[in-house]
């Protein structure tokens, strides 16, 4: 349900930046380790953009994969969920990718 508030933030930001020009597409980066569901975001985007400069715009979602690095043995590995366990058994893992939640760019005009 938070996808609605998050998508509203995206649309508010891009419409403000667009300065009245029509927004044709918006590109966002949503890491796979964020609690944001891309399909929900697309659904909300259609609702939230209605009547705004971004009405009818395409939403493009880049999804960086999850990755972590073990602080004990320094090995880097893929993370598919938030369970931070290195193959060496250490749980002292730094998340290096997958938690992005950013507006990348938009196309206007």
């Amino acid at each position: 349900m938070h996808e609605l508030a998050i998508t509203q933030s995206v649309v508010d930001s891009v419409c403000e930046r667009a300065g009245g020009r029509p927004v044709r597409s918006v590109r966002v980066r949503v890491g796979v380790l964020t609690a944001v569901v891309p399909d929900s975001m697309r659904f909300c985007f259609g609702l939230v953009t209605e009547g705004t400069a971004a009405e009818g715009a395409q939403l493009e979602i880049d999804q960086p994969p999850g990755a972590g690095r073990c602080r004990t043995c320094a090995v880097a590995f893929t993370l598919t969920d938030l369970i931070l366990l290195c193959p060496c058994g250490s749980a002292d893992v730094e998340i290096t990718s997958g938690q992005e939640l950013q507006i990348v760019s938009m196309e206007v005009g």
């Binding site: 998050i6 667009a18 044709r24 969920d81 369970i83 950013q102 196309e107």
Partner: protein, 244 residues
């Protein structure tokens, strides 16, 4: 054929706003690509940082309490404001989708409280927190306890400007809840396992639950408490006293 407004360098007379220094604009096909590279929650994070500064300047410490509906947040708060009221000024922000029922419960203890109704919203955000701070105007050195909307998903994403996040799970819920809602448990500074008085009647493994919580949040502190009998509450109050 290119229409005038499709041309990359169209010549009509109205002024275009100058690009901001961190925006790069490139003509791209029909439109113009504007690089933004900004956090989606930048506005919330900015407001949260202002809340944090406002509270730090006044020695106010906010604790954001999150759980599923029914885990016992309000009962824990009722006990805490009664037990701690003599030691330190305490104020409460109550978040719910609807009603003033929880604020009424806290008000009966004599504690300063403001109710925030989020309507359709499923979490408190930094703007609601700012309005609550304005309405409450907590005394210098206050402990401000914030009861978020009962929800184990959305509130994890929204910084309010709080000092710490406390996640509450009750023993009538599943032992595996930290694995099912990892984002919330990963965000916690403290986990309270509440309703310990019911342990004899339910199939809940406290140690296993703590292990699950630590699998997503290795250093998190876990305390077992009962807001009904008072078991373990002194440890929770000690932890609160450490939050400065």
């Amino acid at each position: 054929m290119l229409r005038e407004d499709d041309a990359p360098d169209h010549g009509h007379p109205h002024p275009h706003p100058h690009p901001r220094p961190h925006e790069r604009r490139q003509p791209s096909g029909a439109g113009e690509t504007v690089t933004i590279e900004q956090k989606v929650l930048a506005k919330n994070d900015l407001l949260a940082e202002r809340n944090r500064t406002w509270m730090t300047d006044r020695g106010v410490v906010a604790v954001n309490m999150m759980s599923s509906p029914g885990a016992g947040k309000t009962t824990l708060l009722e006990r805490a404001v009664t037990d701690l009221g003599g030691r330190r000024p305490v104020a409460v922000v109550e978040g719910d989708q609807e009603t003033r029922l929880d604020a009424d419960r806290i008000r009966r203890t004599g504690c300063a409280v403001v109710q925030v109704n989020t309507g359709a919203g499923c979490h408190l955000d930094a703007e609601m927190m700012r309005d609550a701070l304005t309405a409450l105007s907590p005394a210098e050195g206050s402990l401000l306890m914030v009861e978020n909307v009962g929800n184990l998903v959305c509130p994890a994403l929204f910084d309010l400007g709080e000092r710490s996040k406390v996640v509450i799970i009750s023993v009538t819920e599943g032992t595996d809840k930290p694995l099912k809602y990892p984002y919330m448990f990963a965000a916690a500074d403290l986990i309270l396992i509440n309703k310990s008085d019911l342990l004899p009647y339910v199939d809940f493994d406290v140690e296993q639950c703590a292990r699950h919580a630590r699998s997503v949040n290795p250093d998190v502190r876990v305390l077992t408490v009962s807001a009904t009998t008072g078991e373990g509450l002194s440890h929770w109050y000690d932890w609160l006293a450490e939050q400065r």
